[in-house]
């Protein structure tokens, strides 16, 4: 079966910035066309009707464009592709097909240069992390050499560590003129993951969290990750004093090796120090983002395209409409930032979250059988698809249904599709202890057939101050 390796080849309609239709079409390999729901018109227009953000495979009715903002000028969009992944995944030994992984292309230029640029495809769109991180191996050598290393008060290059739940990334902090869709940020810091020289040795305080050293495109599953979660910068106040660290750690990296942990300012405007949330650093449309993906049939489909909108309530294509707004825990919360409460089978799970960077639902339900195959260890294999009905609740006590159909993972996996709706994993392998007592992780399958809004902490997004998720 032909798989779409390049976003351009798969994309049947560019960008989704046309408000007269406003939808991103998807053409699957089988020829079926589904349409993504479209966010409502934003605050700019006052008379148009509201498009509903419901899970539907039919064309959603969208208001006609506002004459003051013709379609061609709407640049706050980028195409999302859910496909088998970059070429490095599907070739060579241990080849595999990425599943439920949303990708976008980004463009990096040497600061101030209109020509020394590269468009990097298959960057993971991640609402669970913050900051742009690209594997050094995916950046052309001539461009990488022209991206200045960020330096500290010792005039030494700065290295950075960022931990994910299953591993860590370490690399240099460099600056680039960055563009995604029609939005640009000049001189934006990013991590060049697994960069060479002094950055090739990972400090022990970075690796001490355990898990995998995420050094390669193949093991990570993408050429990089664009983290557009609720934090404005990747570390916030935790990294602003000597020795301080939080979600990220910044290091002084002289030629003798990375050593001391150095403070970095949490700024979302130039001059930057920490890695900013790329959306927060945009000059406009910088209060959040929307992931809009069409629904998928229970049997899955080969690939899918959708739209990433920048800004909430800032343009005619990114209004909240009738979406339910669920505020999350803030960076002042003891349990951490970005959590909702999921209520499932009568139990409140207060460390739940929406995560486009997870490719499954992760939750515990011992009444549902798990798959027997070793390569699907922990995946749920219900005898037949079943409707599960968690509810999500925000800190603002707003509740919304998060019901979904759980499908049999083994049956879905056999199709070798990239889009697998309703895939669930039981992360608790321990019989006597519910090791996941407080958490329901809603991965990318939750996003199918929805417009999911992520609002940045402290930013007014459509009249509500972030952080919040809405759908």
């Amino acid at each position: 079966m032909a798989l779409c390796f390049a976003v351009a080849a798969c994309n049947q309609r560019g960008g989704g910035g046309n408000t007269s239709s406003g939808t991103s079409s998807t053409t699957t390999i089988s020829g079926t066309t589904t349409t993504a729901p479209s966010p409502a018109t934003g605050a700019v227009t006052t008379t148009s009707s509201t498009a509903t953000a419901s899970a539907t495979t039919t064309s959603s009715s969208v208001p006609t464009g506002n004459a003051e903002t013709p379609a061609a000028s709407l640049t706050n969009v980028a195409t999302i592709s859910v496909d088998a992944g970059p070429a490095a995944l599907t070739t060579g030994p241990n080849a595999y097909i990425a599943t439920n992984t949303p990708y976008v292309s980004v463009t990096l230029c040497a600061p101030g240069s209109p020509t020394n640029c590269q468009t990097i495809d298959h960057v993971l769109v991640d609402t669970g992390s913050v900051g742009l991180r690209i594997f050094a191996s995916a950046i052309d050598a001539s461009l990488l050499a022209a991206l200045p290393l960020e330096t500290d008060t010792n005039s030494n290059p700065v290295g950075s560590c960022y931990g994910f739940v299953d591993g860590y990334m370490f690399g240099s902090v460099r600056q680039a003129d960055f563009q995604v869709g029609g939005e640009k940020v000049a001189n934006m810091p990013l991590m060049a993951i697994a960069d060479a020289g002094v950055f090739s040795t990972v400090p022990t305080s970075c690796s001490s969290g355990g898990g995998s050293n995420l050094t390669g495109v193949k093991s990570f599953g993408a050429n990089g990750v664009i983290g557009i979660g609720v934090m404005p910068t990747d570390c916030g106040s935790a990294c602003t004093f000597p020795g301080g660290y939080g979600a990220a750690t910044y290091y002084d990296c002289p030629s003798t090796g990375c050593g001391a942990v150095v403070p970095r300012r949490a700024s979302t405007t130039a001059p930057f120090q920490q890695l900013p949330n790329p959306v927060a650093a945009m000059s406009v449309d910088n209060n959040g983002s929307i992931i809009s993906l069409p629904a998928a049939p229970n049997g899955g489909q080969a690939t899918m395209t959708g739209t990433l909108y920048f800004g909430i309530g800032t343009q005619s294509n990114n209004g909240l409409g009738s979406a339910a707004v669920l505020t999350t825990t803030t960076s002042l919360s003891p349990q951490g930032v970005g959590f909702l409460t999921a209520i499932y089978n009568g139990v409140s799970l207060n460390k739940s979250f929406l995560d486009s960077g997870s490719n499954s639902y992760f939750f515990v339900d011992s009444t549902i059988p798990t798959c027997a195959q070793s390569q699907l260890e922990g995946d749920y294999c219900p005898i037949s698809s079943e409707l599960l009905s968690p509810t999500l609740q925000g800190q603002d006590d707003v509740s919304a249904s998060a019901a979904f159909t759980l499908n049999n993972a083994q049956m879905l996996a056999s199709n070798r599709y990239a889009v697998l709706p309703g895939i669930g994993v039981n992360p608790s392998l321990i019989g006597t202890l519910n090791a996941y007592p407080h958490s329901f992780d809603f991965g990318l399958p939750f996003f199918y057939g929805r417009n999911v809004y992520t609002a940045i902490e402290g930013r007014n997004a459509g009249g509500v101050i972030g952080p919040y998720f809405a759908y």
């Binding site: 931990g163 193949k218 979660g229 004093f241 660290y245």
Partner: protein
């Protein structure tokens, strides 16, 4: 979260990192003080009869709990914005955790690591900005200790 500023702690952290006694899971309860210094954390113990819960509060507002009974640390748990230093918290059990948490093929389907062995149990979850987890040794957990009390 509240942020505690320990301006001199940076030096202390690196001075100790090269020469500190083994601390954490399975080690003597007295090593909790070592962990406190290493993490630049305040240490507040609370006794609960059969065990003591030592709460370490980190400069970034995260917390680590070390549970001791009979003078030995039998469990640790954490709730931190960044990943915790499991080399220190798991002590001699880190190697075990690491080999169990990164089985081959994991890169194909990334998932939160869990370890479920005859003695060592480790659960880790969360996302950047909000990590949590627990680890304990079945052989050392005091009788009647409610595992659901691990934060």
């Amino acid at each position: 979260m509240r942020v505690f500023h320990f301006a001199s702690a940076g030096f202390l952290t690196f001075f100790l990192s090269s020469a500190n006694a083994q601390a954490g899971l399975g080690e003597a309860a007295g090593t909790v003080t070592t962990d406190g210094l290493y993490f630049s954390a305040s240490v507040v113990p609370t006794a609960y009869g059969t065990y003591t819960d030592y709460v370490l509060t980190l400069p970034n507002g995260g917390t680590v709990d070390e549970y001791a009974s009979g003078g030995v640390v039998f469990a640790v748990s954490w709730q931190t914005p960044g990943r915790p230093d499991l080399v220190h918290l798991l002590g001699s059990y880190f190697t075990d955790f690491q080999s169990e948490a990164t089985p081959p093929g994991r890169g194909v389907r990334r998932a939160p690591p869990t370890v479920d062995e005859s003695d060592l149990v480790v659960v880790s979850r969360g996302h950047p900005g909000a990590f949590s987890g627990q680890a304990f040794l079945r052989s050392l957990v005091p009788a009647g200790f409610p595992l659901s009390d691990l934060k």
